[in-house]
């Protein structure tokens, strides 16, 4: 289990690698999972990491502009990150990896898969954003930046009180990381809001087995949105996790890990 700074193109990426799992489990089991985090960032202490890393090698880049990863001035889109991560896969020889992407990480995964579906085995998209399926006069994804923080928390979490981040308990560095992540999220998703209009015209190429997961109380991603997204891939199905909102990996880590590992064939 370690984090390393890797330079990819001109970006310094903080990449967590849980390391290879005991080799006597067979070569298939050594296949890595590339995990792409959501807007809240990644921390190896998050509760879903251990159950997944027990079974599989996990490789987790922290997105540019989040955590310790740098943000060059040319980078301003999810598409930029998708290209960068394909290059990261070259560096780390990750071809054939499974990928899990949450929220904006799901969007990154979808962009990567449309560019090079053959480089992945299976896809798990968790509350993914990235497409627009509803009418022009209604946002598909509620505007979390234009509402009181407490309202946004209610949309994101099944139990906002339990999950709420206590700013007072964070160090200045941790607090700075929270604001930096928010800023980068805005940079990447502002316009068009949370989607790439071209993505849905490309998803049909992604024939990989795909699982779309949604927390039952997710206030950002509706069930209709998730199903419409899944229908754009020829080989996808959906799954609901109870008592969870937009981040089921944090609110129901055991159920999340079990569902993911089952789908990935453990």
């Amino acid at each position: 289990m370690q984090s390393t700074m890797l330079q990819v193109a001109d970006v310094d990426l903080d990449v967590f690698d849980s390391g290879h799992v005991d080799s006597n489990q067979g070569s298939g089991k050594a296949r890595p999972i590339m995990f792409l985090h959501g807007g809240g960032g990644f921390d190896q202490r998050q509760p879903f990491v251990a159950p997944l890393a027990q079974k599989r090698r996990m490789v987790v880049p922290t997105h540019p502009g989040f955590g310790k990863s740098s943000l060059p001035d040319w980078l301003d889109s999810v598409d930029d990150i998708a290209h960068l991560y394909l290059e990261l896969m070259d560096h780390l020889k990750l071809d054939g990896a499974d990928v899990i992407g949450c929220s904006i990480g799901g969007w990154i995964a979808a962009e990567m898969a449309t560019k090079a579906p053959e480089r992945f085995r299976r896809l798990v998209l968790v509350g993914p954003v990235g497409i627009k399926v509803g009418p022009p006069d209604k946002l598909d994804i509620p505007d979390i930046f234009a509402m009181p923080e407490a309202e946004a928390q209610k949309l994101i979490y099944h139990e906002p009180e339990r999950m709420r981040l206590d700013m007072a308990k964070l160090s200045d560095d941790e607090l700075a990381a929270v604001f930096r992540a928010r800023e980068t999220l805005a940079l990447l998703t502002w316009e068009p809001w949370m989607h790439n209009p071209k993505l849905k015209r490309r998803l049909h190429r992604v024939a990989n087995p795909a699982l779309f997961i949604r927390g039952e109380s997710d206030g950002l991603i509706s069930q209709a949105y998730l199903e419409a997204y899944a229908r754009m891939l020829p080989n996808a199905r959906t799954l609901t996790i109870k008592a969870a909102g937009h981040v089921p990996q944090l609110e129901q880590p055991a159920a999340f890990a079990a569902a993911v590992l089952e789908f990935l064939g453990e």
Binding site: D73, D76, F145, A146, M147, P148, E149, M167, D172, L175, A176, F179, R180, R182, E183, T184, L185, A186, L187, W190, E191
Partner: protein, 398 residues
């Protein structure tokens, strides 16, 4: 010293503030009665023209989706004023170019107003307050970079006279730029930029543009001006910064008597008391630097929305240096004290109308300032003065 009458053309006829969460961005426009709005435009234009008659210059600005300033297309108002006024300088402060998608169009609008007004335009550019982000659907991240690319491109539009040129920058792309008309003023109209940060001010100083700051009181204004003077000197513009490079905007009301001044000043506070805006509009992600957000989360005061409650009284605002109000003598001394503290400036932007300050009272304030205070300011602060030397001057005087 040059004085400017600044009106935000506010629409004050609102329901109780408790009935809405924000006066900006989300306040439904069904509240706006266009007939009343037309009468208000007539009145505010009259007040600008009265200021002109009194020898005061004209200033306006632009905001969107708000009752506090119903001038979402300021170049249109500027065009009207260009024809209605005869001699006043016309300052737009300013064009929110980080929020406008076509800087070339802005260059055209400004050039056209300069010609319409026979060379009276003062072209201001602002980053825009945070509540402008949503109405413009503008990305709050990297605004400063967009702002400067746009401004440099606008200046090139004004100064390039040999047929089409191209621009392929970070944010803006044009294959063929060749604006008609070009400005009357050569090489281009005076350029103003507002900022609230010392780093921003240094950048404005390096360009030699006129730096304006709004309601930043004593110490913050001094820091901003220090930044400007530093940027000016480091860019090799010389040791002396003329005071005409610096401007300060304050709430100003001069009354014939203390009682009348007090009544007018109370009404000017509407700018502060009516500005009800929730945090998700006043601080979108990326608008202020990360380090500033950390300080704000730890309880620091937000300079960007300096409308703190401690300034919601006449005494508090005067104490803070955001308001100059009283009899001519009192106002003269308040301005002098502020002027000396910050190092000196050559432009006073007078926020002299707000909310329910009625026409007669607004005109009274304009005339009292123009006749009883302005001549004294012009006398002690001639435009040939240098900024940042007042401490030395004081030492000499003592």
């Amino acid at each position: 010293m040059r004085a400017w009458h600044f009106s935000e053309t506010a629409y004050p006829y609102l329901p109780p503030a408790e009935s809405y969460p924000s006066i900006r961005v989300s306040l439904p426009n069904r509240i706006y009665d266009p007939a009343k709005g037309a009468a208000l435009y007539d009145r505010y234009i009259d007040e600008w023209l009265i200021a002109e008659d009194e020898g005061v210059e004209i200033m306006l600005n632009e905001h969107h989706q708000t009752a506090t300033c119903v001038d979402p297309a300021a170049p249109l108002m500027l065009a009207a004023l260009a024809r209605l006024s005869k001699k006043a300088r016309l300052l737009i402060l300013g064009n929110p170019i980080a929020n406008r998608r076509q800087p070339v169009r802005v260059a055209e609008e400004m050039a056209m107003v300069d010609v319409l007004s026979h060379g009276r335009l003062e072209a201001g550019f602002v980053r825009g307050v945070p509540y402008e982000i949503l109405p413009a659907n503008s990305n709050p991240v990297r605004m400063n970079e967009r702002h400067w690319e746009a401004l440099d491109l606008i200046v090139k539009c004004w100064t390039h006279h040999d047929g089409p040129f191209s621009h392929e920058g970070r944010f803006f792309h044009h294959r063929s730029i060749n604006i008609w008309p070009r400005p009357i003023q050569q090489p281009h109209p005076p350029i103003w930029v507002s900022t609230t940060s010392t780093g921003g001010a240094a950048q404005v100083g390096a360009h030699g543009y006129i730096q304006a700051t709004f309601l930043t009181g004593f110490d913050t204004t001094k820091r901003i001006y220090d930044g400007y003077r530093r940027g000016w000197r480091e860019a090799g513009r010389g040791e002396d910064v003329p005071i005409d490079r610096l401007a300060y905007a304050a709430l100003i009301y001069v009354g014939e008597t203390e009682a009348r001044a007090r009544a007018g000043a109370e009404k000017l506070l509407w700018y502060i008391t009516a500005n009800k805006v929730p945090p998700h509009f006043s601080n979108p992600p990326g608008y202020v630097p990360v380090a500033m957000n950390v300080q704000l989360a730890r309880g620091a005061h937000n300079v960007v929305s300096a409308f703190g409650t401690e300034q919601a009284t006449v005494e508090g605002a005067i104490e803070a240096g955001t308001m100059f109000a009283g009899t001519p003598d009192q106002v003269f001394h308040q301005i002098k004290k502020h002027w000396n503290h910050v190092g000196g400036y050559g432009h006073l932007l007078i926020m002299g109308q707000a909310g329910f300050l009625e026409h007669d009272d607004t005109v009274h304030g304009i005339r009292m300032f123009a006749r009883e205070v302005y001549p004294r300011l012009k006398e002690i602060y001639p435009e040939t003065m240098v900024s940042g030397t007042s401490a030395k001057l004081d030492a000499v005087a003592n």
